[in-house]
Subunit: 106 residues, 2 copies
Amino acid sequence: MKVTKKNIGKPQGDVASFVPAAECLKTLAHPARLRMVQLLLSGKYSVGELAEDCQVPDNVASEHLRLMQRCGFLTSEREGRMVFYQIAEPHLKSLMNCIEGRFLNS
Amino acid sequence: MKVTKKNIGKPQGDVASFVPAAECLKTLAHPARLRMVQLLLSGKYSVGELAEDCQVPDNVASEHLRLMQRCGFLTSEREGRMVFYQIAEPHLKSLMNCIEGRFLNS
DNA sequence: TTGACATATCGATATATTACGATATGATTT
DNA sequence: AAATCATATCGTAATATATCGATATGTCAA
């Protein structure tokens, strides 16, 4: 590749390559959804339990969980009349570590 | 602290403690802004250079940069008629490493 | 000082996101 | 089967965000 003034030292990729990352980060960028991910990284929770912890109605919790499922963060499993969600994206753990390290260290 | 059925094994914090994190993540969750952070982690760039790389007009780039400055990610410094932005938040580096590791490894 | 360049700001519009209430589905108990 | 519980979906209204064009500010060069 020819090296010009324009690309010396530039990191790989371009703005387009960040489109999927931006979508997933947007999905994560909500207090209730962050808290849900944190909880699910530590154990098993039903929709109702997550809703109660996050202080949102059940249907709102359900929508948050559906969004995270859509982008591959979570999977769900029904047990009786409850539904349990779990982490499906392994990178979420290190990502949450970064976030907790920055924002929960007060 | 008393241990009850409700809090066994729950990670510290609650949904409210994630409000600032969610705001900052929302700021980061845009393709152009992610690319700008990636570039600024690797070197020095003016507004115009960032705008060109991200393929947005100068004023749009300027607004993106202002948003990131507002939440403490960046600082700016004028040199002549150009303005250079730089990373102000050290955690951005590890956060970008997580993001690149997940989304730019195809 | 005039003109050109780089960046920033403002107002308006278009689009996206969020939350809510109502209703629907699925499962269990009586 | 009917009632109840847990979750999901849908329409809608409120709010937030993104983008654009126009204009403003600040800097330099002629």
